[in-house]
């Protein structure tokens, strides 16, 4: 159904309609993991990977549900797939890089409740993307998420040494930063149209 070019899908998902700054998906990890640059990059990488796998599975599930005409099972099956993918990723990371596993800590299982992943699955289903379009969409979304996270982490690291009023410390400051980042990203509007 969708006749967008692959490049335009990628630009759209990563910049123009950035998942965090435009769609407000993935805010919890965005505010929680973005205080250190290194954790932010790794979280972004893990999320991108989970997005890719979930995107492929979601495409398959949607095809299956259409075939058996049970659209109401969509939500439950998606969330089940996402939870399993995160479990899988956790086991893989634990095995191949225990240091990374320790660094990510509690945030890894929290990817399950990351609205960005479920949002990705729901959006691509609504837009009726083909298989290749889904993959590009997932890559774009993951890149955009990582980008937002890394930018935020960089900004927050610098601000740690600045003098800010007491009332703003913590989440309020992070939110104002996010608002400014969001305004900046609006400049990408119209790209890849």
């Amino acid at each position: 159904m969708a006749d967008e070019s692959l490049w335009s899908i990628f630009i759209n998902a990563s910049l123009v309609n950035n998942f965090v700054l435009a769609y407000f998906l993935g805010i919890c990890p965005f505010l929680g993991v973005s205080s250190k640059l290194e954790t932010a990059t790794r979280m972004g990488g893990a999320v991108t990977f989970v997005m890719l796998v979930s995107s492929i599975c979601a495409f398959g599930i949607q095809a299956l549900l259409v075939a058996i005409d049970a659209p109401y099972l969509k939500l439950i099956s998606f969330i089940a797939v996402i939870a399993s993918t995160v479990q899988l990723v956790e086991m893989l990371i634990k095995k191949f890089s225990p240091a990374l596993f320790r660094a990510l800590g509690i945030f890894l299982p929290l990817i399950t409740t990351n609205c960005a992943i479920l949002g990705l699955a729901l959006f691509q289903t609504n837009k009726g993307y083909s298989f290749v379009q889904c993959i590009v969409f997932a890559l774009g979304a993951g890149t955009g998420f990582t980008l937002a996270l890394v930018l935020m982490a960089g900004l927050r690291e610098k601000l740690e040494l600045a003098e800010v009023p007491d009332v703003t410390k913590g989440t309020a400051l992070a939110l104002m930063l996010a608002g400014l980042l969001s305004v900046a990203f609006m400049g990408f509007g119209g790209l890849g149209g």
């Binding site: 335009s8 837009k127 509007g189």
Partner: protein, 228 residues
Amino acid sequence: MSDSELAIRPAPTSAWHMYRAMVGVGVCCGLLIVSVYQATLPVIERNKAEALQAAIFHVLPEARVSTTFGFDDAGGFEPLDDESQGAARIYAGYDEDGGLVGLAVEAQGMGYQDVIRLIYGYSYTDDAIIGVQVLESKETPGLGDRIETDPGFLENFERLDVSLLDDQPNLANPIVAVGHGKKTHPWEIDGITGATISSKAIAEILDRSAELWIPRIEGNLQDFEGGN
């Protein structure tokens, strides 16, 4: 380890308990979902049909009844019942006397922010688009979303020329958007200042859809007669 310590440590849950819980909960949840789905299905279908009817009558102002038609290359247009999914479809609008008023076609394409979905009404007697309604858009509020509300912009669609070249299945003049106040031909769309890209998007969506559907409609007008 003494006996009392063993007794205090809770026994690990048996697999049976785990399966029982998951399957039990799963079955009950499934039943709940299916019953709500079945209960709301007729209401939702009715709402959607009503919304579509309202849109069709909005872009074909004199229509009172509408019929859905599906198209295939071999047989031309055939009346469709709404159950068939995925078929390329348009809607024919008839007035009270059963006369064909025009055809309503849905179209979509990329706007400035995201996809724009619209429906437009085509009148074969005028060779023109006589109404456009935006169904879904996420354009910038206050700027791009004026394609839905700006009265000057909407005037473009009272009679947007889409005549075909003689004996050719192509539009004589492609639909284009021009700068505000620069419209000179009936197939041009007067754009909105500050919403150039959204205006252009509308023009492109209409042009692409018209190029595809108008020749098909003109070539098969007889399929719509007596269709209600």
